[in-house]
């Protein structure tokens, strides 16, 4: 759908601007720059949301990887929050996952569409992946005060994996249905469980584990 491409392209450009502003603000902190960065983040989020809604309209089952990536980028965009970090790249790191996801959706060659899971399941998985990407941005910026994306991702992923396993047990008598992608989903959940169990007194180790877990999840959801 060409309109989706237009919105994704515009969002990509605005996200790049947001990163530039964030880096600039990191070196020279002024209220005007912070305000501009907040406005640009809002604009990027709005463009992404418009593109994602259009993509979802055209592909309700989210079978095309590009649609999934765009919806994930929308969830990952750090709209409405802006912090003052001690590191100059703090705010830039928070925007990075959304930019990468939008860029891959726009320019990447992602293979054929798949329609293995239902529309609701696909949507929940994509929201999960988007929240995971958002948490990756927070972790990369070494922020310690934004825990909700982590908690929300892990809770949603636990519900998804547990729900799928219980439905399989009820319908088929086994935890595994043998559908492709099931192993990846459980793998992503185990990786988030590892990040959840990691000791909070080692923030860098925790950051590394969150990035690994988020990558597991994003790759599983996108492919």
């Amino acid at each position: 759908m060409p309109a989706v491409g237009v919105f994704a392209g515009l969002a990509c450009g605005v996200l790049l601007t947001a990163i530039g502003l964030a880096v600039w603000e990191g070196f020279r902190q002024t209220p005007d720059l912070a305000r501009a960065a907040r406005v640009v983040n809002w604009l990027a989020g709005t463009l992404l949301l418009a593109g994602a809604l259009l993509a979802w309209w055209g592909d309700p089952a989210l079978s095309a990887p590009a649609s999934r990536l765009l919806l994930m980028a929308t969830c990952a965009a750090p709209v409405g929050t802006h912090h003052h970090y001690s590191k100059p790249w703090g705010n830039a790191a928070r925007v990075l996952p959304a930019l990468v996801l939008t860029g891959v959706a726009l320019f990447g060659s992602l293979g054929p569409a798949s329609a293995e899971s239902g529309a609701l399941m696909s949507l929940m998985l994509v929201v999960c992946g988007g929240l995971g990407a958002r948490m990756m941005g927070e972790a990369l910026s070494l922020s310690t005060d934004a825990e909700w994306p982590f908690t929300a991702t892990y809770a949603l992923l636990t519900l998804l994996v547990g729900g799928v396993a219980l439905v399989n047990l009820w319908q088929r008598g086994t935890v595994w249905s043998g559908r492709p992608g099931e192993g990846g989903l459980v793998g992503a959940w185990l990786a988030w469980s590892a990040a959840w169990s990691s000791p909070r007194r080692y923030p860098r180790l925790r950051t590394g584990l969150i990035v690994i877990a988020a990558l597991f999840l994003i790759v599983t959801v996108a492919t």
Binding site: A165, T174, G184, G187, L190
Partner: protein, 382 residues
């Protein structure tokens, strides 16, 4: 010279096993293995047809590297010794953590010594703070002038539930692996009852093909449904003619065919060949050829019961739809299901209501707190 106290190796092992590091490593190892299974097609156990399909697919996809990957065990990840060793280690680790969680729940009844630095609380009286915390379902223990605030017992109960759930789940999976079985690709036609291999049970399909019944203890899942036919032929005098599906097959007067793909049968006495081809709209294309010369004599599309007359031969076809089933016997079903529910409730409870303990006391300059204080309580340092 400073003398060093002898280090107790058991204590070190206990600390490693009940610490946070080992489960993280084990979970990451298992996560990597399972994620690889989503990328690399895994070798199907047992079924030779599925194995042949997998082998040709793997060779087409990976070429010469397939043999090396196979030798490295990349196509049998979840059945590999390393994966099972990780699961066994995780089980042991979970058991010890379960014991530790139980002990923590038991010890949580009493007050602990304050830990951490004392910090000034935000402007509010201690009585108001305690009232507010109690209304938010915190437990308050008092030994004036000290108060301990925590989330006992639920915050300690949820990890216990999660650990016991994970252990039950692993136990259920082990029982399934040891004593369970699964039959895939079982084809049953309407009104038919099929005995499972080794007389392990039976599966039947109702006459209208809408309902599957089975022997107790097994679970059946319909993978696919499709058309089928019960075919018979008679000559002009009404005498039944013999039918053959293959040259070496015994002639019969009635054939029941599940139309999973095109099916052929011969009527040797009148030299006719019949082709039955399933169509996308669940109807069946019937073509009758003369043999020789292989010329098409009649062609029709049938839905339901059909009678077809070719020369003096009457071909009768009665609809007999089929269901392709998977039958599973899982003696570990209940431990697995209970474990899954416990694990989900335990994890979600831990996420929503994590363990937190802190201490409060009234001092001359105002209330002060120590431990894992909620950020709303602490006064911002200037």
């Amino acid at each position: 010279m400073i003398s060093q106290a002898p280090r107790d190796p058991w204590r070190i092992i206990w600390r490693v096993v009940t610490g946070d590091g080992l489960p993280v490593i084990l979970l990451l190892g298992l996560a990597a293995g399972l994620t690889l299974t989503a990328w690399l097609p895994q070798m199907p156990p047992g079924d030779p047809i599925a194995y042949a399909q997998w082998l040709s697919g793997a060779q087409a996809r990976f070429g010469e590297a397939a043999a090396t990957m196979r030798a490295l065990g990349l196509f049998t990840i979840t059945r590999s010794l390393a994966f099972r060793a990780l699961l066994a280690l995780l089980s042991g680790c979970l058991l010890l953590r379960l014991i530790e969680s139980g002990e923590r729940l038991r010890q949580g009844r009493k007050m602990f010594k304050p830990a951490g630095d004392w910090r000034a609380l935000a402007d509010a009286s201690l009585a108001d703070v305690l009232d507010d915390l109690q209304s938010r379902r915190y437990r308050v223990l008092s030994a004036p002038p000290l108060f301990q605030v925590d989330r006992w017992p639920w915050a300690e109960l949820f990890p216990l539930l999660a650990h016991s759930g994970a252990l039950l789940l692993l136990l259920g999976l082990l029982i399934t692996h040891l004593w369970g079985w699964r039959v895939e690709g079982l084809i049953v036609q309407s009104g038919e009852r099929v005995t499972l291999p080794d007389a392990a049970g039976w599966v039947a399909l109702s006459k209208d093909a809408s309902r599957v019944t089975h022997s107790p203890g097994i679970v059946t899942y319909v993978e696919q449904r499709g058309p089928g036919a019960q075919v018979s032929a008679a000559d002009a005098d009404g005498h039944p003619l013999s039918l053959q599906q293959a040259f070496e097959a015994d002639p019969v007067t009635q054939l029941k065919l599940a139309l999973t793909e095109d099916q052929y049968l011969a009527i040797p006495e009148v030299q006719l060949i019949v082709r039955l081809a399933p169509q996308s709209d669940s109807s069946v294309l019937v073509q009758v050829y003369r043999s020789p010369p292989g010329r098409l004599a009649v062609e029709t599309v049938m839905e339901g019961d059909t009678e077809l007359i070719v020369d003096d031969v009457t071909l009768e076809s009665i609809a007999a739809p089929y269901a392709q089933l998977t039958a599973t016997f899982n003696p570990g079903l209940w431990p697995t299901a209970t474990g899954l529910v416990f694990l989900m409730v335990g994890l979600l409870g831990s996420v929503v209501w994590p363990a937190r303990r802190f201490w409060l006391r009234e001092e001359a300059g105002g209330a002060r707190g120590a431990g894992n204080l909620p950020s709303a309580l602490v006064r911002e340092e200037a």
